[in-house]
């Protein structure tokens, strides 16, 4: 079965059916389908989130009713910029928090741009290298007081425990491994021949001390203009799963939280290394999306 057929079936049975204006619902489906691969990938993640109950179908139905999708490009723009469909399920009650802590893997340019709010030209990046990376001991970050988290204001994190396992297993090419497995997909850098990555270690008691709570991501947390390598994931453990750019079977747990503007000294920084360009396999991305949708249906049946 074509993945879009399944998406359509799920959206019709869960969303359009509760809309007062079914015609509007169908025009949304047509608009999404009309955006091609991007729209199909978005639709698959949307369907997974519906089955996983990480978004509220009533919110989605309201959104579809209130907004005219217009042409396909407009439809994806509306969905990409929407803040109206909030994730409704944070960590499942009863799923204990893995007290290993979180880390964020960020490309050096992203650190310069988002954490330090400086331009990405080579001179500024060199200043940052001297200020932050020239001495691994000087790794505290309390001076970061106006961090930005990009257009969507989301920060993607992974469990420190898994990061440490990856570090052990891929000691010689950690940055390249993470660039692929986390679906980051940096193929070049603005400041050097190869992208470089750093890790920001979160304080162990981050969840207790900060009001922002990491949660399982939904399709509305990811960027779709253009699409990256995000696919939603159905599971009760409160974590999403990454999809590697190369399409390999490896998956890392991931969560997302809203931006933290002011860091403290117990956020620590470490340079991870340079990465080569990952292999991109978009065909496998589509296959993986389809597979996750099937998994979501199976889980729903088990749950039901």
């Amino acid at each position: 079965m074509n993945p879009w057929d399944k998406v359509e079936e799920i959206l019709l049975s869960h969303v359009v059916t509760i809309m007062s204006d079914a015609e509007r619902g169908e025009s949304w489906l047509n608009a999404l389908k009309g955006t091609g691969e991007n729209g199909v990938l978005f639709g698959v993640s949307l369907a997974i989130d519906i089955l996983n109950e990480t978004i509220d179908v009533a919110d989605l139905a309201r959104f579809f009713t209130e907004h005219n999708p217009g042409d396909p490009n407009h439809a994806i723009d509306l969905l990409d910029s929407s803040e109206e469909i909030a994730a409704i399920r944070d960590r499942e009650p009863g799923v204990p928090y893995d007290h290993g802590g979180y880390v964020r893997v960020v490309e050096l340019g992203g650190f310069v741009d988002k954490y330090l709010r400086r331009p990405l030209d080579s001179e500024n990046v060199e200043w940052v290298r001297r200020e932050y990376l020239s001495d691994p001991r000087a790794n505290r970050l309390s001076e970061v007081q106006n961090a930005w988290s990009g257009r969507k204001g989301r920060v993607w994190v992974l469990p420190k425990r898994e990061f440490n396992e990856a570090r052990e297993a891929h000691a010689t090419n950690l940055a390249a491994f993470l660039n692929d497995v986390l679906g980051l997909g940096y193929n070049r850098a603005t400041y050097a021949e190869h992208p470089e990555f750093i890790v920001v270690y979160y304080p162990e008691d981050f969840e207790q001390r900060f009001t922002v709570k990491p949660r399982q991501p939904t399709c509305f947390d990811a960027c779709w203009k253009p699409a990256g390598f995000y696919i939603s994931y159905a599971h009760e453990d409160g974590w999403g799963r990454t999809h590697p750019c190369s399409g390999s079977e490896l998956r890392h747990r991931e969560r997302v939280h809203m931006k933290i503007e002011a860091l403290t000294d117990d956020f620590r920084l470490e340079w991870l290394g340079k990465a080569c360009e990952p292999k991109f396999d978009h065909a496998r991305l589509t296959l993986a999306a389809e597979k996750r949708l099937v998994e979501a249906e199976v889980r729903l049946r088990h749950r039901g």
Partner: protein, 362 residues
């Protein structure tokens, strides 16, 4: 795209920035300006990249400075800083001098600060230096001040250091102290420690007298601008160790390994340079903890750094000037220094030493 004219680039940029068209760049975490820079990096020839840069200037010129365009201006400033096209300088300078972007803030980033950082890509004229020095005093908030200091450093590092008093006065929180320390970490890494040390010895009173002194000291140590474990001489930049010892000297007793490390500097620096430095560090140590100095540190200085006996007499006398009970203190110094007197200074007895100190104190 390789053959696009500057006008075509300008139009395309404005369409991308207004959300009309997508860049087509695929990556999970790239913001709009990063995506556009990726397009720029994909251009194969310098001619095409130059035309792109000219297109950025055109887009900038055609973007009215109104609140509705704040986000577009934010991205355009990033692009100007990255491509710094030749024709951009005049407008960047003009907007800066007019403070035109100061009211605009995108995602808590003041666009005037971003414009200042962009200015750093162009020639820093006398007019710009003068403007930065004046505006730093008017708008003394740390992000702006450190940006001012970075831009000034690209013209002359001394100009940058001259803004330190303004930055020190602006410290209100530990985070601001840390931001300034972080700037100095970069500054010393690029220009070395000598400039900072020379500024410090002249202006130290200003730092220690302020409430921010302790906060700033902590920031300097946690960011390792000041070394905590100065147990080895730094042959690449001797002033790094000297600066660290100097900063610590008025706050805590130096450890024996630190004194020995300082003494090793004699292998790389001349006695004329080092002697006044040693004297100053010793005097600061005497004021910080006189008993520790005479009991532990002075003999080490004598043995490791081969400081002249006359210098010890002077420093010991200095230590007494800061102590109210001269007489009793001189006894203590004399007693504590007995081994040193005999082995290094060749003074026959504690009493003889005591008398000499008292004569010096007057």
């Amino acid at each position: 795209m390789e053959s696009w004219t500057a006008n075509a680039w300008g139009e395309w940029l404005l369409r991308v920035l207004s959300g009309e068209v997508h860049t087509g760049v695929h990556a999970r975490d790239l913001d709009l300006h990063q995506q556009i820079i990726d397009v720029y990096l994909g251009l194969k020839t310098a001619v095409a990249r130059n035309r792109f840069g000219e297109g950025v200037v055109k887009a900038f010129e055609h973007t009215p400075i109104i609140p509705a365009n704040t986000e577009m201006l934010y991205y355009l400033l990033h692009l100007l800083a990255y491509t710094h096209p030749f024709r951009g300088q005049e407008r960047v300078h003009r907007y800066l001098l007019l403070d035109l972007l100061r009211p605009f803030v995108f995602e808590q980033q003041n666009l005037h600060t971003l414009l200042l950082m962009t200015t750093g890509k162009y020639e820093i004229t006398d007019e710009i230096v003068d403007y930065i020095q004046r505006s730093a005093r008017r708008h003394a908030e740390m992000e702006y001040l450190t940006a001012c200091m970075r831009v000034l450093a690209s013209r002359d590092r001394k100009l940058s250091i001259e803004l330190l008093p303004v930055a020190l006065a602006a410290i209100q929180t530990p985070a601001e102290a840390a931001a300034l320390a972080r700037y100095l970490k970069g500054f010393t890494s690029i220009y070395g420690y000598r400039g900072l040390y020379e500024w410090w010895i002249v202006n130290e009173e200003m730092i220690t007298e302020r409430d921010v002194g302790q906060r700033f000291y902590e920031a300097l140590t946690t960011r390792y601008v000041v070394e905590n474990e100065t147990e080895k001489a730094d042959t690449e930049d001797p002033y790094r160790l000297i600066f660290s010892a100097y900063v610590h000297a008025s706050r805590r007793p130096l450890r024996s390994a630190e004194v020995f490390a300082l003494a090793q500097m004699q292998d790389t620096m001349t006695a004329e340079t080092l002697e006044p430095i040693f004297q100053t560090v010793m005097q600061k140590q005497i004021r910080t903890n006189p008993k520790w100095f005479v009991r532990i540190e002075a003999p080490l200085w004598g043995k490791a750094a081969k400081v002249q006996p006359a210098d010890f007499l002077t420093t010991a006398a200095d230590s007494m000037r800061v102590e109210p009970e001269h007489e009793r203190h001189s006894d203590f110094i004399a007693a504590a220094m007995t081994p040193l007197l005999r082995d290094v200074m060749y003074i026959p007895s504690a009493e003889a030493y005591r008398q000499r100190i008292l004569r010096l104190v007057g």
